[in-house]
């Protein structure tokens, strides 16, 4: 479904990704594991079109999307739920969700999607008229995920959905991610909680200093010595 081939990308003159290759098949859950600063966020931002690859190819459903601006990438069915939530703080939760359904494809079905999504997030339903900026960190993360779902994505990318949240909220976030995975949507996820993520992932990639150093099934990576030492602290 999604293929990155020899992708180089970075900021200004600094190259962060040195020719990475990643594939995500339809219906798969794939994770990228890596230390802080390895380039995970940059990878997702490059797929989303926020960072331009300097070399290499990105294809989605057979189409080259490597040079597309972000709004055209979303329109093709790839949605990124960004690191740090990035809600619209002075807009109500309802308007944040409406913004999630901005693409023409999603807009047509907004009312129905909104109902489906809110069934998944009963707590968000209670906060619809509040400003997103006034919510707690956990609530904001739920809104960010809900907003991502509003686009009815074919491929949903999560960037550190549990970052900076209290342990009990982290558990709720994972429950939600698992429920989304169960609906069959294709997922590419980056998450500091490597153990839990590898447990739900079909496959994983290990990214170090902007290069993919290892890839295997989630279960195999969980048993790998290097992964266990470097990322699971075992």
């Amino acid at each position: 479904m999604l293929t990155l081939h020899e992708v180089h990308a970075g900021y200004g003159r600094t190259t962060i990704l040195h020719g990475i290759g990643i594939t995500v098949g339809a219906g798969e859950v794939v994770t990228i594991v890596g230390a802080n600063g390895a380039g995970k966020t940059t990878t997702l931002r490059t797929i989303a079109g926020l960072v331009r690859p300097t070399a290499g190819r990105i294809t989605f459903e057979g189409e080259d999307i490597g040079r597309l601006p972000p709004h055209e990438v979303v329109a093709r069915g790839i949605t990124l739920i960004p690191e740090g939530r990035q809600l619209f703080p002075f807009m109500t939760v309802r308007d944040n969700l409406r913004m999630g359904a901005y693409t023409p494809h999603a807009r047509d079905r907004m009312a129905r999607t909104m109902d489906e999504v809110l069934d998944l997030f009963p707590r968000v339903r209670e906060k619809l008229e509040q400003h997103a900026g006034s919510l707690s960190g956990g609530e904001q993360q739920m809104v960010a995920i809900a907003r991502g779902l509003m686009s009815r994505p074919k491929l949903l990318m999560f960037d550190e959905p549990s970052l900076g949240l209290a342990p009990i909220i982290v558990k709720q976030v994972f429950d939600v991610v698992e429920r989304i995975v169960a609906t069959g949507v294709t997922v590419l996820i980056v998450e500091q909680n490597v153990f839990r993520t590898l447990s739900i992932a079909d496959r994983g990639y290990v990214l170090e200093n902007g290069e993919i150093v290892m890839t295997d099934t989630g279960a195999t990576l969980l048993r790998d010595d290097h992964v266990r030492r470097a990322y699971l602290g075992i």
Partner: protein
Amino acid sequence: METFVQLVINGLMLGGLFAIISVGLTLIFGIIRLVNFAHGELLMVGMYLTWLGTVKLGLHPYVLAPPLVLVLFVIGVLIQRFILQPLLDARDAHVQIFATVGLSTALINLALLVFGADLYATPASGVRESITLGPFRILIGQLVMFVCGIVVVAALHLFMERTYLGRAIRATAQHRAAAQLMGVDVKRIYIVTFGIGAACVGLAAALVAPIYPASPTVGTYFVLTAFVVVVLGGMGSLHGAFIGALLIGLVDSLSAFYIAPDLKEVVIFALFILILLFRPTGLFGLGRGSE
């Protein structure tokens, strides 16, 4: 007392005009993050166009308002698309600001070339007739400015709150990258925003031309005042610009009478400096996005 009330009425009416000019400026500032130094010159262009339409076509300035709104919208769109947008990726964000300063100078010189330094008064029947309310008088032209000010601010507010495009504009102001991730074409949002800002000025031009003669530098007075309004109201805030415009209208009217007509601009700018010193976010400054 009667004089005072009359001055307050005059001030509020003038505030309506300031509101129309200021909402355009504050939109462009709040969303594109651009201080548009050419805003006044767009007003000036609009005023000459009003004069032309009135004198050459024999139309009333108020009849010319809708086409002027359209023409200025298109001019705004073209400026953003072909002058400012190419500079968007420029290393230094200040390049765009210099571009608007350059545009301002170019337009002033163009006006000098075409019209010379003479004042062009736009004739308009009825505009200087007045309604009397007991001891008080309101000029038709003033009343129209005030009503238009309210209508413009209310319409923009509804547009921002109720439409997909309006929400996308607000989202872009609050978090540009996140708006892109939602599928918003930010460049297009900037183009529309600049167009709307310029369109407001088109309306203002049709309303002010019958009252104030056009000259190459006519924009400066109105837009410097609008800058004060925008800062007072909180940069980027629509209702802040509206309240700010009414307040500055009052200050303008009262200080011209009680202090001295020639000093009213001094008073307004003293106020400007005081706001910047003591409340730089303005009365309704929300801060900007969280970006």
